[in-house]
Every structure is written in structure tokens, then in C-alpha cells.
Amino acid sequence: MTPLPMGMSLREAFGVALVEIGEREPRLVVLDGDLGSSTRADIFEAAHPERFYQMGIAEQNLVGAAAGMATLGLIPYVSTFACFAVARALDSIRVLVAQTNLNVKIAGGYAGLLAGMTGKTHLMFNDIAVMRSLAGVAVVSPADAFETRRALEVITDHVGPVYIRLSRPETPIIFGDSYEFVLGKAVVIRDGTDVTLISTGTQTARALEASELLAERGIKVLLLHVPTIKPLDEDAIVAAAARTGHVITVEDHSVIGGLGGAVAESLSTRHPTRVDRLGIQDIYGESGPDDALLEKYGLSTERVASAVHELVTAREGRPH
């Protein structure tokens, strides 16, 4: 297995993309919860200072004010950490953004495990589960910098509330110039017949590397990347499940209610298939370097490959 080449972080891609989109879309404004230098919303402030609003360390009002601005036809991006946006400001999102169907984009930075050296307060594994349970909110989790930029272009033009999940570290490159992000569409990254691996966000890079390790071990993985958890591309999931007969989801998120939950909900009705869910178990995180966290919590390339290997081996002899 050759490791994927490393690329720009999602947060930096976020800042760069907003600058570019801001050039053609004058209605775009950014509201920051005093984390611009971390979320890289500062890149936007440097380019378009007149459209950048510092709202201080006050997330309920941050989201509420964005809703108010959206009523005037502006397209506000709320930028803070995923933990503060989704958990602390949830009522503002539910009442003022989701229930009103206002055109607010919520960018949750430092989502998932890869916000090392912060600890359990900041490690947010529940955001996909929470946000996808809000009616009318699209939930997007891009895999690399390129997909982040394309996704931001699309969700800026999409009218309605969107949550986009971003992360901090530099991230391996998966997609090239020919890739088109379509809201609500999944993409087959690798074909295979033994097992379907479904992933989202930056975990897709490790899922792809794990798939190559598994190929070396004789297991042919179909890897389906799901950048939009809501609306979910159920047809692609059903097709992938039908092709292999066994689905394993993997995500940098709780195994409760996230991508794995969404896939299980869909398949249980549309195409009953065995679904195993890899991700953060029903626990909180801790401080540590990103690599150590990935290893300990089962999301490193090697640990994903081992887990898939065990699940595939264990199922032999069982109907599926």
C-alpha cells in the first residue's frame, strides 16, 4: 500500500474557497465566533473584510444573528468549532435556522477526532447525528481539500440550511480536477465484490488506504464515499449493498446516529443487509496527537483494515 499524497487541510480549503466564492457571490457574509484564526475564516476576512463579522464568543447569538441576516437575502456562513455550533447553539439552529428554512450555512470546524491536544470538550463525535435529525438541514462531510472547495460552491448556491463538517489537519488528496460534487450523491471510489465499505469525511482517505491493504490480503473492497449524509444517496447504498451483500460503515464520528446509523436505517427498509459500524464507540475522547488518537480509537488505516478483515472472516459460513 502506498500512502496517499498529503494535501491542504479542510479548514484552509474552507477559507480559500470562501474567498473565491465571495468574488462571484456578493451576498456571502461570514460570521465568526472568535475562532477565525483556527477555522481559517481569517483568510476570508483578509480578502473581504467588509463581509466578515466578528460576533465574539457567544454562539447562540452568532447563529441567531445569521438567521436574521438571512431574512434579508444575505447568505451567512456561521464559522466556529463543530462542538460549539452544534451543541452549544443547537436551539438557535433548530428554531431560527432549521424550522424557518433560512439560507444559513453552518461550518463546524475541528470536527471529529482530529483536533488533537484539545480533549473531550472539543472532540465532537455527535454532530452528524444531531444535525441530520433536524428536518430540512443538509449535512455535508467532505473528504479532502478539493472536495471541500467544490462542496462549498454547491452549498452556497443551494437555497436552505446546510451543515458542513470540517477538520483541522492536513488531509490526504483523493479527488482530482475532474471530480464534480453533487449534493446528495455518493461516489464509488473503488470497486470490489467481497465487502462494501462506506465512509464519509476525511476518514475516506484511511478507508481507501485500508482497502488497498485488504486487497493485498485478498479481500476485494467496494469503497463508497458518502459526502452528503443528508439527503442520503440511498440508491447508491442499496446498489453497493446488493453487489457485495455485506456493508461496513466507517466514520470519524460516534457509531450511534451518524453515517452508520443513516446507512442502517436505509438498508433495513430498502435492502436488508448485514451492516457493521466502525467509528467512535459510545464514549468520549481525550487529548493526544492525532495519530495516537486514530490508533487508540480504531480509525487508523491499519486498525480499519484489521477490523474489516475480522468482520469479513467471521462472517464466512454465515448467510449474508
Binding site: A58, A65, A67, G68, L72, L74
Partner: protein
């Protein structure tokens, strides 16, 4: 009041404390077009104390936004007149509210957006005194002052009671959220221009709301001193009328006190 009795639910104490303020705003002070409720240049109004919805609906109906008869659909299934205001159901509502404090922060955003877009309208937001317990109100108050939102007016319905309140000398003697001078000091400390008025003295309300120091660099807080349940002797100042539904006899007596007559 008939609508609340008919729906067997809703709130009366808060709407009665706010009714002169709402009347003044919709009939005189605000630049609105009831026949064109989504007129782009209208003044915006957000009832952040959303549980006083029936007061807002009554004033909007009388102002011509919708037929007065529709008030009797309040809180009924499929009604445009939701228990708490829903902007997707009724044109003319500038925000959905009901979770206290949130409407205020939305109003801050509307005023900030209006500045951003060089729009000339004024944004009005009605906030309860109990609602000022919410931290979100002070988050927004700070930001509004920081951005010099002198196109934003918060009308504080200071009726001195909240749903249950703080225990006084006895269990039924409930204390209000703030001492009399406390709210003015708080809003002033957050950088707002503070004006006080007797919220039941309609000429005074018209005078004050019609002559606010808009456009002078600071957001404005109008602290309206009011009485919860105003106008009905047995409701006034009694916290239990926050969300109590009147019996037939109570309704009849209340309407007589309000000069409405018991029939109709």
C-alpha cells in the same frame, strides 16, 4: 381573550401587558403595509416574547393583515395563528419565535444585515423582562452595541412577573425578575440608549416611540413599565395568569371590565 378561551390554551398576562405597545407600533409608529405584508422596505418587528402571540395577532388582525374572525382559529390544527409565531405560516411575521432570547438575537442580525445592505428600515423587537434572564439576550446586546446598531429598538415589556418567578415572603408572593431600576442600568451598561415609559399610557407610548433617537450611534432600549394582566382586575399582577385559561364566567367578567360586553 375570546380566542384564548376558545382554544382552551395560550397566554393572557403577557399580551395584556404589551397590548398598548403593540397597538402603538402597528397603528402609528412602524412603517408597514398590512395589504403588502412582505413589502421589502417595511420596518421589521420580531416578537421575541413569542408566547404573547395572541396579542400580536389581535393587533395585526385589527390592522388588516387578516380577518378578525380568523383569531378564533388560534392554536387550532392547520391554523396560521400558531401558539408561538411561525413565519412560514403567516406573512408579516419577521421571525419565528417562542424559545426565549432567540428572537432578540435574530433582530440583531436583521439590523446588522440592514446596515450591511444600506437599508433604511428600523428593526423593532419586543423582549420580556423575564426573557432578559436569557444569556443570549446579553450576547446580542453586546454585539448590537459593538456594531452601533442605531437602527434597532428593543421594547422591553417590564411587567415585573415571569411564569413562576422567585419566591417572595410567601409561596404565592412571587418576585419579578429585576428590581425597578435594574433593567435600565443593565441595558445602559451594555451600551444602549435607554428610554423609559409607562407602557399603558398610550399617548405617552406614542410620544416616546415616535420620537426615539434613531441613527445616533447606539441601539435603543425602551423600557416600558407595565402590569401583567393589565385591564382585568383579577388578572393584574397575578403570576398564575401567565398561561391560565379563563372560565366562561371569568371571560364574561373580564370582557365587561374591558368594556366589551359579555355577548358576541
Amino acid at each position: 381573550m375570546r380566542a384564548i378561551a376558545h382554544a382552551k390554551g395560550g397566554h393572557l398576562g403577557g399580551p395584556l401587558s404589551a397590548i398598548e405597545l403593540l397597538t402603538a407600533l402597528y397603528f402609528s409608529v412602524m412603517n408597514v403595509r398590512p395589504e403588502e405584508p412582505m413589502w421589502p422596505d417595511r420596518d421589521r418587528f420580531i416578537l421575541s416574547k413569542g408566547h404573547s402571540s395572541i396579542g400580536l395577532y389581535a393587533v395585526m388582525a385589527l390592522r388588516g393583515y387578516f380577518p378578525v374572525e380568523e383569531l378564533m382559529t388560534f392554536d387550532a390544527i392547520d391554523s396560521r395563528l400558531q401558539g408561538h409565531p411561525d413565519m412560514l405560516k403567516l406573512d408579516g411575521l419577521d421571525m419565528s419565535t417562542g424559545s426565549l432570547g432567540l428572537g432578540f438575537s435574530a433582530a440583531v442580525g436583521v439590523a446588522l444585515g440592514a446596515k450591511h445592505l444600506n437599508r433604511g428600515f428600523t428593526t423593532w423587537v419586543m423582549v420580556g423582562d423575564g426573557e432578559c434572564n436569557e444569556g443570549c439576550v446579553w450576547e446580542g446586546a453586546h454585539v448590537a452595541s459593538r456594531y452601533n446598531l442605531d437602527n434597532l429598538v428593543a421594547v422591553i415589556d417590564h411587567n415585573k412577573l415571569q411564569q413562576f418567578g422567585w419566591r417572595g415572603t410567601t409561596l404565592v408572593d412571587r418576585m419579578g425578575p429585576y428590581e425597578d431600576s435594574e433593567l435600565a442600568a443593565r441595558w445602559s451598561a451594555f451600551g444602549w440608549q435607554v428610554v423609559e415609559v409607562d407602557g399603558h399610557d398610550l399617548p405617552a407610548v406614542l410620544q416616546v416611540l415616535g420620537n426615539l433617537p434613531l441613527g445616533q450611534g447606539k441601539p435603543i432600549a425602551v423600557i416600558a413599565h407595565t402590569v401583567k394582566g393589565k385591564g382585568v382586575s383579577f388578572m393584574e399582577g397575578d403570576f398564575t395568569w401567565h398561561s391560565r385559561v379563563p372560565t366562561a364566567a371569568e371571560l364574561s367578567n373580564a370582557l365587561v371590565e374591558l368594556g366589551e360586553g359579555a355577548t358576541r
